[in-house]
């Protein structure tokens, strides 16, 4: 039998392939992927666990007609473009970026196809400059040819100011064009970029979104005096050359129902923010399971952050698209029980604070007064451990400690005592009768 008769054609059509590729990714996510690529470039330029990104910038512009993202983060060379960047899926031997946040070889292409039917990529390194233009309609019609062509390639010496990558997408898909034109979508997207990349913003990276300079979101924890957050640090796989370093910081901040909860940060990218779901131990089905109650606004001062960092990003507890938590990962399973302990500790404090406020009122609560007086808000990145959670357990009380007593008695009996004791409220009856019996039993001398 001739050879071709043994083969069944399973080659996808390009149109089908492109359609499948872009289907499952939300539009916001696709933009974030492109920003991640810029940040990976910055990480290659300035490696390390806590790099200085000052002077590096990313700018994103989008509207109903097109999309553009540009950075000065090193660019990528012809070799990388030819063999890796535009391949679908990351080849085995592709060099990986330490502490990378970009995805496994799909991010950029997927985003470009998702947005529109025409794109350009221009990149300049210190030694090369190249560009490419792809008309997706033309490319799709040419079945069997899976190549993209360079428009030009230049070798030379290029100044630092020129180095970087610029991507332009035009002929947007109609649904994408509508979204990119919407102010609401843009506001949401800028907030997502800001919160997801907060640590890189804190490292000094400048992100410009539609002309607006994004700043890192505030994740601050109060400390000072006798108040300190819990800090726990440990390493997983520390006998390998790619240990995962984990740092947990849990404490208290301003009362804010929208900011309270856990923040999970992998290689600088925030994958969960203000989380109060079961993923981080809250809101368990069984009320008392693991000792953490359901989230309630009484806990609006709770802030917790878990930082994971590893030069090999595959070891981190995120899903393959690096957009959310993968709770089944080893690292997460080792970390989660520890987070529960810290949550419980902070909750115990917040319950005590709540009792103190109930007892004395918000203005006079000794604990709240001490908290406000002794502590200052500090960026969560600045805390280093280990340290136990602590708080002022003996705040200055105006006079001796008091305890509230509450009870009910028949109304008519209380009224007759009000008359007998010459007081005008049920509360006064309670206080007066207590004082009488206390004196009768020997007063302060007992």
């Amino acid at each position: 039998m001739p050879n071709e008769e043994l083969h069944i054609d399973a080659m996808p059509t390009k149109a089908f392939f492109v359609d499948m590729l872009v289907r499952d990714i939300p539009l916001e996510r696709a933009v974030l992927d492109l920003v991640d690529n810029c940040i990976d470039g910055a990480k290659r330029m300035r490696p390390g666990e806590e790099p200085d990104f000052h002077g590096l910038n990313v700018s994103v512009h989008l509207d109903g007609d097109g999309f553009e993202i540009a950075d000065n983060c090193g660019g990528f060379d012809v070799e990388t473009a030819r063999n890796y960047a535009f391949r679908f899926g990351r080849p085995e031997k592709a060099a990986s970026t330490d502490y990378s946040i970009g995805q496994f070889g799909v991010g950029m292409k997927r985003a470009l196809f998702k947005f529109g039917r025409y794109f350009e990529v221009h990149s300049t390194t210190t030694k090369q400059r190249w560009s490419m233009h792809v008309d997706v309609d033309t490319w799709e019609r040419d079945e069997g040819n899976w190549y993209f062509d360079f428009a030009n390639v230049e070798e030379g010496q290029f100044a630092d100011a020129e180095v970087g990558t610029r991507i332009i997408v035009k002929r947007l898909r109609p649904e994408v064009s509508r979204q990119f034109a919407s102010e609401h979508f843009k506001r949401q997207l800028s907030e997502m970029i800001r919160s997801h990349q907060r640590q890189f913003l804190a490292f000094g990276l400048a992100i410009d979104f539609g002309g607006l300079h994004l700043t890192n979101t505030d994740l601050r924890i109060r400390s000072g005096g006798q108040f300190n957050p819990a800090i726990e640090e440990f390493a997983v796989d520390d006998d390998t050359d790619a240990p995962v370093n984990v740092r947990i910081v849990a404490g208290i901040s301003e009362s804010s129902p929208t900011a309270a909860g856990w923040y999970v940060i992998c290689n600088g990218r925030v994958i969960l923010s203000a989380d109060r779901s079961e993923s981080t131990g809250w809101n368990s089905v069984a009320e008392q399971k693991d000792g953490i109650p359901k989230y309630h606004n009484q806990y609006a001062r709770f802030r917790g952050a878990v930082f994971f960092s590893c030069r090999d990003s595959k070891k981190l507890p995120w899903n393959t698209t690096k957009t959310g938590l993968d709770a089944s990962t080893t690292v997460w399973q080792l970390t989660f029980p520890k987070m529960l302990d810290h949550t419980r500790t902070v909750i115990n404090f917040l319950n005590a604070l709540d009792n103190s406020i109930e007892e004395y009122g918000a203005k006079a609560s000794p604990l709240l007064v001490a908290l406000n007086k002794e502590t200052l808000a500090k960026e969560v990145e600045k805390f280093r451990g280990p340290a136990s959670f602590s708080w002022n357990r003996t705040p200055q009380v105006p006079g001796p400690k008091t305890i509230k007593i509450q009870y009910s008695r028949e109304e008519t009996k209380i009224q007759s005592l009000m008359t007998a004791l010459g007081v005008t409220s049920a509360k006064a009856v309670g206080e007066k009768t207590f004082d009488i019996i206390f004196e009768e039993q020997g007063g302060e001398d007992q």
Binding site: A230, I231, E232, F234, V236, A286, E287, Q288, K289, D290, G291, T329, T330, V331, W332, Q333, L334, F336, P337, K338, L340, D341, H342, R344, T345, N348, N351, G385, P386, A387, S388, F389, S390, R393, T394
Partner: protein, 322 residues
């Protein structure tokens, strides 16, 4: 609630004294894992520091941490601290334990005065999810009766049924076969230990999922005690051992200790009511492996046998002699 150290003089509790000595004997065998001097002791020293003193003196442990939650009397604790090397850490165990450096091999004795409650189990889990191989954990709780003290209740509620237990501890911590009988008398002591043990296993299970096979930890129970100096108390003690160090555990010889207990049963520490003269009489035929060989004289057999079992660990009564 009045702090227990204001009610009980710990040094006058003979069964507790004996328990402490037996724990010390267990801990002394940890040297197969690492030198005892390199261990860290974590306990609740109260104002007496009996545990801290014994383990420092008998084992040579230098890094001693005493956790104390009665912040208001901090000065008094500092005053009673017998050695400079003891670090007093103010706060509840729940606050202090997670912030310690657990890469350190430790001897941990969570010696509560209270009956079992969810907070105690949380502390147990804190240790179980952090302990390294060679770390030993002892947990003591009162076993007179369980009380539900959840904050929304107007007053504490006695727990006498499985449902009551479930309401307070939650489904995950409630044994399937819990009967009212398991919540009263000495059975409660057994139930308490079993629930602590389950909590340790659950904590280990959650972290073992992320470990290489060689690093998977088990909790090997070494002993369990129950006694009633006043209130009924019970203790469970065991060591965390990873797969690679199982040989160490076997070599330590825990199994040959007369009070080795790795199941549901505990050693009931009953301090015999004997006069000093009677004790000296018994001492003359001790040690004695066959209790039939014991020269009892006029001493009741049960008391004599108890004495023979415990004499090495009992406090010295000589000073009471006229």
């Amino acid at each position: 609630m009045t702090a227990s150290y204001r009610i009980i003089d710990y040094s006058l509790r003979p069964a507790k004294f004996a328990e402490r000595k037996m724990l010390s004997e267990i801990f002394s065998r940890l040297k197969v894992f690492a030198s005892l001097e390199s261990y860290r002791y974590i306990g609740f020293g109260s104002i007496w520091f009996s545990d801290c003193i014994l383990f420092h003196k008998a084992l040579g442990v230098e890094d001693v941490i005493s956790i104390e939650k009665e912040q208001a009397h901090k000065a008094r604790f500092e005053f009673n601290k017998p050695y400079k090397g003891i670090r007093l850490m103010m706060g509840s165990a729940a606050d202090v334990l997670p912030g310690l450096d657990w890469a350190h091999r430790s001897i941990v004795w969570l010696d509560y005065d209270d009956p079992l409650n969810p907070g105690i189990l949380d502390d147990v889990r804190t240790v179980a999810t952090r302990a390294t191989s060679g770390t030993v954990l002892a947990v003591s709780v009162q076993a007179e009766g369980l009380v539900d003290k959840r904050p929304h209740l107007e007053e504490p509620l006695e727990i006498t049924s499985a449902q009551g237990f479930r309401d307070c501890f939650g489904d995950a911590r409630t044994p399937q076969d819990l009967e009212p009988a398991g919540l009263r008398g000495w059975s409660l002591s057994k139930t308490s230990r079993r629930i602590i043990r389950d909590e340790i296993d659950a904590g280990l299970h959650s972290v073992n999922a992320g470990r290489n096979p060689g690093q998977v930890l088990r909790f090997n129970q070494i002993s369990a005690f129950e006694y009633a100096d006043g209130a009924k108390m019970t203790t469970i003690v065991g060591v965390f051992v990873d797969h690679g160090q199982n040989g160490h555990f076997e070599a330590a010889g825990f199994r040959t200790l007369p009070f080795f207990r790795d199941g549901d049963e505990a050693l009931r520490v009953k301090v015999p009511m004997l006069t000093p003269r009677e004790m000296r009489h018994l001492d003359r035929s001790l040690p004695c492996n066959d209790s039939g060989q014991l020269d009892l004289g006029p001493i009741p057999e049960a008391d004599g046998k108890h004495y023979a079992k415990l004499y090495r660990y009992l406090p010295n009564f000589a000073s009471f002699e006229q």
